[in-house]
Symmetry: C2
């Protein structure tokens, strides 16, 4: 029949298939234009012309910020941006069942968005060279738009956010992804950002500080330390991705792991758990776990103290809240002060990966973090800063941590599929990096609270909110890079 307003299923289905094809070609096609000499040179050029100076400053002296009179919270005088508050947490089934901590309260839903275009069958993403105060070394590849609501409503008096209009007035047809995702549940209360991928025509004007890249460029950059920022990683993990084609992936080693990985992304092969099984396990964990949290005063948090202009744990573990004074010439405004969280050094987030009858599976942990919107998400097999466990009983040492570290630092590097140190969000976290690892294992098991998933299953779940944690989303993108570049970061020339 004739359909005046609706495309036929075949047209629509082939539209999605065409996106998959253009994404696949993007994954195996390095740029020959746009960034010219490649992302590293492009970022360096940008930083040479746009300096940023970041100096630590005591929290009490931050311009525009103040503790409440009773010390209950640290807030911006405008009421915008975010606050640092205290949180009291009870969580059954954790190494420590009750604790208090400082945490970021930022209730607004911001926008993290990529503009993409498809030319000659290759999808390209519009990257921004963006420096942020927490970045360990200068600018990183960042989404086209990365804006809190305070940002884009101009609460801080900054300049308009470039390209924002494409995300605030999108048409349904143009979105390849639009999903609210959580961020670090240990450091944010119920934070969510809208992860968006919006398609535009290829005649878009590209302004200074922005450039088109292919996914192949991104994957390569992902293997260099702190070059692809966290917001870019989480959004790109939401890209519709179904592998790179029926044959062996170009660039990947033609071995059993490569073939197994390709089958894991295709979605046409069996999985250890059906998706209804997985979703039932998530519901069960959310209902069964007893997580209660309440906001308490920042002053007098058990175990924490204000010292030398910071808020620190008495053991020195976990993280610090510190202040910085920022001045720069390439951002919305030239200078500002703000508090940040500085995470522990040596943090690790890892997937164990195993071949199950020819289909690679990764091991997700049903993980609860104090700030999660809905109690539990699927996180990496291992996620921790080992130093934080030094003062806890032996039994608290995270499961699978030693297996991951032994493989990562051991002689048999064939088992290391991905290994790269990447920075967490530079607008909130100060020089906070995580070593992301995907480690192949031969002897595996599935303890309670863990589930083996194919990468196609994980790729389906990221289109929904609050299933896949921000660290697991980075690892999903990392697994895509293994599919196209082959295993192990250190085998790729940087």
């Amino acid at each position: 029949m004739s359909l005046p307003h609706v495309a036929s299923p075949e047209d629509r289905t082939s539209a999605l298939a065409a996106v998959h094809d253009d994404v696949a070609r993007s994954a195996v096609t390095p740029s020959t234009s746009g960034a010219g000499a490649g992302p590293r040179a492009w970022l360096d050029d940008w930083d040479a012309a746009h300096g940023m100076s970041v100096v630590e400053k005591p929290l009490e002296q931050l311009d525009g910020w103040a503790f409440d009179d009773d010390g209950a919270a640290l807030r911006h005088r405008s009421g915008g941006f975010f606050s640092i508050v205290g949180l009291d947490v009870h969580l059954s089934d954790a190494p420590v069942a009750h604790w208090q901590q400082p945490i970021i309260d930022q209730p607004e839903v911001g926008i993290l968005g990529f503009l993409v275009t498809r030319v000659d069958g290759v999808l390209r993403v519009l990257m921004q060279a963006k420096n942020e105060p927490g970045n360990p070394r200068g600018s990183q590849l960042s989404p086209t738009v990365q804006a809190t609501r305070s940002n884009y409503l101009g609460l801080h008096g900054g300049r308009p956010v470039p390209y924002l209009e494409h995300f605030r007035r999108r048409t349904d047809e143009s979105a390849l992804a639009d999903v609210r995702q959580s961020e670090h549940g240990s450091w944010f209360i119920a934070k969510r950002n809208r992860n968006m991928i919006v398609e535009v025509a290829d005649d878009l004007e590209v302004i200074d500080g922005f450039a088109w890249f292919t996914l192949a460029d991104v994957y390569r950059a992902l293997r260099e330390p702190v070059m692809v920022n966290m917001d870019a990683r989480t959004v790109l993990a939401c890209m519709p991705f179904a592998g790179v084609g029926p044959g062996d992936p170009p660039g990947a080693e033609h071995d059993a792991v490569g073939s197994s990985l390709a089958r894991s992304f295709s979605g046409r092969h069996g999985s250890v758990h059906s998706t209804p099984d997985l979703l039932a396990a998530v519901t069960d964990a959310r209902v069964s776990l007893d997580l209660s949290r309440r906001q308490v005063s920042l002053s007098g948090l058990t175990g924490w103290e204000r010292r030398d202009g910071r808020i620190t744990h008495r053991t020195g573990a976990y993280f610090d809240v510190l202040g910085v004074e920022v001045s720069c010439s390439g951002r919305e405004v030239g200078a500002w002060d703000q508090p940040m969280i500085a995470g522990s050094a040596g943090a690790v987030a890892a997937f164990l990966a195993a071949d199950v009858d020819g289909v690679l599976h990764v091991l997700l942990r049903l993980r609860s973090e104090a700030g999660f919107v809905d109690v539990v998400e699927l996180g990496p097999t291992v996620q921790c800063a080992p130093a934080n466990y030094a003062h806890l009983p032996d039994g608290a040492r995270p499961r699978f941590l030693d297996e991951v570290l032994d493989a990562a630092d051991g002689p048999d590097s064939d088992d290391v599929l991905f290994d790269s140190s990447l920075a967490e969000e530079g607008g909130r976290f100060h020089s906070t990096t995580i070593r992301y690892l995907v480690v192949h294992t031969h002897a595996f098991e599935e303890p309670p609270g863990y589930r083996w998933l194919t990468l196609a299953q994980l790729g389906d779940l990221v289109h929904h909110s609050h299933y896949v944690s921000v660290q697991a989303r980075t690892l999903l993108l990392a697994a895509q890079s293994v599919l196209t570049l082959g295993r192990a970061a250190h085998r790729v020339a940087s």
Copy 2:
């Protein structure tokens, strides 16, 4: 490789396929045992031995219930069960953008669960004959377990809930579904119940008031007025269901609509929208719609008054809050009082269904209700009590309502695929029925805020929370019945 703790993907995939097969056979196999003379006779027998008397009683006189001193809320003296509170709602994009109303506040997550067993390749569900004070006529087919947290913690001093232990200590492997779903967003604040389907061995002892039925029995009962209760409908809608087989469905008419419907459930055919497209539309609606609600005092709600022992709208529209005195001999306790909501007469919930290139699609509306947990869910094409629009401007009349009613009550009954009046939850709603319709349309469109979905897409979404409204879940089950029984309620002998 050998997998000590994990079944192989093939085994697991075939496990899900086996469930689909046993569900398909259940859908086309009427019981020859269990309920004996069929569900109607079984329910009548039960009611003959277990009377329930329900008499209206002024809200002010309900035993165990009291208004706060300032009239702000009506609560149970135990603090359990639920309360009636006031709500102030601002909702952009609604016929009325601001209003106040009474609403049920029941923050607990209850359990609605079916035990199922599979014998000789046929799945059976353990139905309970359950009378509830709001039921228009005696007992209905109800889930094995239907328990609020107050219920199963024994807050009202009742007897233990039979079979509850299978749901409170389930093993992952045994759950065919486990998902928290919303209920009526206009009458509940953020209510969620856990919808569970748990498989047990076939040697389960079946106690008085319970019996095994096939899905074919359920579909047939669904076509009789108020025989399958709401909780049974919402849980059974979450059953993994992939159609009834490759050929023409037994019992269905062998026409184009039947074949189109079979393809709609199979999931192997194209859909007008890809699932990522649909999910992006939901996110966009949730972020774009401005819904704000705050609890206010029940006394002094604009437009509402306490009169004759009820709370009513001054126009007589929408719903009443009324009290009942219940006494019975077949329930957990013998007698109690409680408030209930009595919805408007003449309510309608309907899917428009259209064939798109050989695949039946149904039209969902991105619908916001004041009490939804996350602003928007996919609801029926039409959902309203037409009388509620009598005092509103003409433009407020719900879109597609006339098209549905013209088809339902017009001469061309071939377009009516399903037509049955079913009762909403009898524990909270007093004699509140909705006429559920699935109407085939030839001339269709997709206005903003509506989306055409296949039934396979809808069936995938019900495994996640908060996408498919409680009314749309009943209509999904209704569509399953059309697949196996053919079109139109009045063609089936009852």
